[in-house]
Symmetry: C2
Subunit: 101 residues, 2 copies
């Protein structure tokens, strides 16, 4: 979960994730969408892959990245429980689990 939040704490990486929402993309196409050097984008993709938010698949000479939402589930649960805490002032629910992603 740590790596997931960390990965999403950067606008470029959130943007990449949003792009992949519409379907898988090659590394080059992703890099071309940003006004920064390709290796920088590669770094962002590596961060997303580390977090488990994307999977990379080699396809000939290019690499196809696709979204993997399952890594985000823990993060969603965390936030949903937060929201639940707003509805009721004090609710003894499941204890907060601290797991590393």
């Amino acid at each position: 979960m740590n790596l997931v939040f960390k990965a999403l704490a950067h606008p470029v990486r959130r943007s990449i994730v949003a792009m992949l929402r519409k379907g898988p993309m090659g590394s080059g196409d992703i890099a071309a969408a940003f006004d920064m050097a390709w290796p920088t984008v590669t770094g962002h993709l590596a961060a997303l892959k580390d977090a488990g938010l994307v999977d990379a698949e080699k396809e000939g000479t290019s690499v196809r990245y696709r979204l993997n939402i399952s890594a985000a589930e823990e993060a969603v649960s965390f936030l949903m429980e937060l929201m639940g805490a707003g509805a009721h002032a004090a609710e003894p629910k499941a204890p907060p689990e601290e797991k590393q992603s």
Copy 2:
């Protein structure tokens, strides 16, 4: 949203937020819950306040911190839209679920 994800990208800050889920707490009680110097915790609280996730309210000589979930709503929306993109992503084991009640 940036600051929210950034703030939640640290286990101590997530833990603080989880603690505040049960109700407001004083700075000292929060600091006492961690095995680190008080000023370090103050820094984490400042990060959470910057993100809008907590509000601080002076109460005599102490300071009471309280959860503010509204700052997390954008982050939740972002993640929920991600989950909605499951149809285009790698096929997870579970079928794509819509927003649950």
